[in-house]
Amino acid sequence: MSTVVETILSNHPQAKRDSLIPILQEVQEMEGFISREAIASIGKHLNLPTSKIYGVATFYNQFRFQNVGKYHVMVCRGTACHVKGSAKVLEAVKRELKIEPGTTSRDGLFSLEIVACMGACGLAPVISINGEFHAGVEPDKIKGILNAYRRKESENVK
């Protein structure tokens, strides 16, 4: 059992099932994602089946079950971005990275997350990669943007 999760659970002594979501949030906050080990420990602590915990966690978009990639891509699906066509942007990112929101590419380079609003409505449609904002993105620009990060990565390797 990872000690981080242990510590979090020890801060919730005698917790019941209504503490599940706060605990999941803390675990994700500290570890970046909800691991198998974390689910097993939480289940023991709350006396809840792991299938139930996974069921609750997948009900909400905020939880992820893989560690984030080296580059974490957030696509805004807030109202302003939606009006400006963020659905197509998201499709383009998914196609380019071949991953679904909430998951991480196999090489661990990219992960994808949908967010409700980044508070950057003036830049709509907007995506952010490791906190760098890309404003007014169009679907056909996605490939170029992501390739820039890929290039950076291969230069680092050299």
Partner: protein
Amino acid sequence: MINIEVNNRQVKSNPGEMILTVLKREGIKVPTLCHLSDLFPTGACRLCVVEVEGVPGLVPSCAFPVRDGMKIKTHSPRAIRARKTIIELLLANHPDDCLYCVRNGNCDLQTLSEELGVRERRYSGKKNEYKVDTSSPSIVRDPAKCILCGKCVRMCEEVQGVSAIDFINRGSKTIIGTVFNEGLNISSCINCGQCIAVCPTGALREKSNIKEVMDALNDPTKFVVIQHAPSVSVTLGEEFGLKMGQDVMGIMTAAMRRLGFKRVFDTSFSADLTIMEEASELVYRIQNGGKLPMMTSCSPGWIKFVEEFYPEFIENLSTCKSPQQMMGAIIKSFYAEKQGIDPKTIYSVAVMPCTAKKFEAERPELSQGGIPDIDAVLTTRELARMIKMRGLDIRNMEPEGADSPFGERSSAGKLFGVSGGVMEAAVRTAYFLITGKEMEDVKVQELRGLEGIKEVHLNIGDLKLGIIATSGLGNARKVIEQIKAGRKDIHFIEVMTCPGGCIAGGGQPYGINMDAVKSRMKALYEIDRDSKNRTSHNNRFIKKLYEEYLEKPLSEKSHHLLHTHYKKRDVLK
């Protein structure tokens, strides 16, 4: 008693009852898709809606209690229209697969669509794409056919106490799945098939072994034999429209021969053998300070349950293989030797009321020198399918006698099909082993019936034997927790995975029809009542088997062939 009015008729009902309960009693059929009797209603499907005077919307009758003077209309145009719309909406995201579906002709969704007169596609939505999960040796899950009624989830959690599956994701992405949506084979699923029993559609089914068995039957180099579990002969007839609980032993044997099986063995015979070994093991443990309470080991779902959830009780499990596996082991050893057949050419099939038996047959420890004790397991449903496929009309078939290659069973072995039956059979023999005398009345009433936990203390000589028979793993959990909490008066616990025992197994005809289950139970009790020999130890063929081959219960040979061991399993649970 209160008075309510249903469709302009006065009806009496008990306060607090749900409307649906009253309607059922009155013979008024309102369709349901998510209702499970005895469990708390969820009101998920809304199919059971009725009109109640003075209540604005339609109300779900499964979750709405009656009130004095309530006026109900069950089939008003509005209620019928609502039901039809629900079905149409369900069909909008459902594959048009009926012709290829295992539930064709036996599907609640299909039946309702027909009954409500759905004739055109009024809604066509985007259909989700799903992967079929075929990873488990027992259960196949096809999420495309799932209507999210939630019955499987409740069965698995509330009745079986396993919780292998739950709702995952949200909205239109919702599916039923395991933790991390992984294959059932690596989940905590114990293969009981109770989820199949309650599923209204083809979303859950057994992993079929019909093809393998057919191939073996068509292979001239194979000597294909079959055995049938105690509960099968009192159930199979239902699949052909015969009376519930009718014992079709004779025609079933005839049908099996027509299908091409060379020998027909009765698993009830090896159940007698199990009793000889298990009762001896119990007496040995009691007299030698062995691990107690001893727990039965013939139900493979229960075994996996202990390995996963209560590994600290593995030593309490009897080391006896199940009757299926004992039969398999002696067919490929003693029988093969005696008949001069190379065990490698024997293809050994077992017909079981159970899906977990498929998993059991694949356990690597249940084999000898790389040859599995059992090659394929068919459920009662699959046997019926094979018989229909071959065009055998069992209603007009002459019954044939069993060829009982080992001789006949006692009726104690036949009792294995019902909860409490293994215990009753074991007590009859343990009594004899301890006192040297026969029980005056071999029937132990306290162990009979469908109750989830049955308990009795019996005086055997100086010993006060404490015994429990429990079925449904949720109940087994309760019993095991009592033992954990320090209960000391219990020596022997029988556990059957499925509520009521094998007569209600996950491989029996679809749906849980309590009338049918009771009829099957009654049939087994009648067979026992009318039997000449009701004890395993007085079965002269069993005695002969020991004389000729096994020597005596718990002998080295018995240990080698008839006993096994289990180990802890790590799964996310």
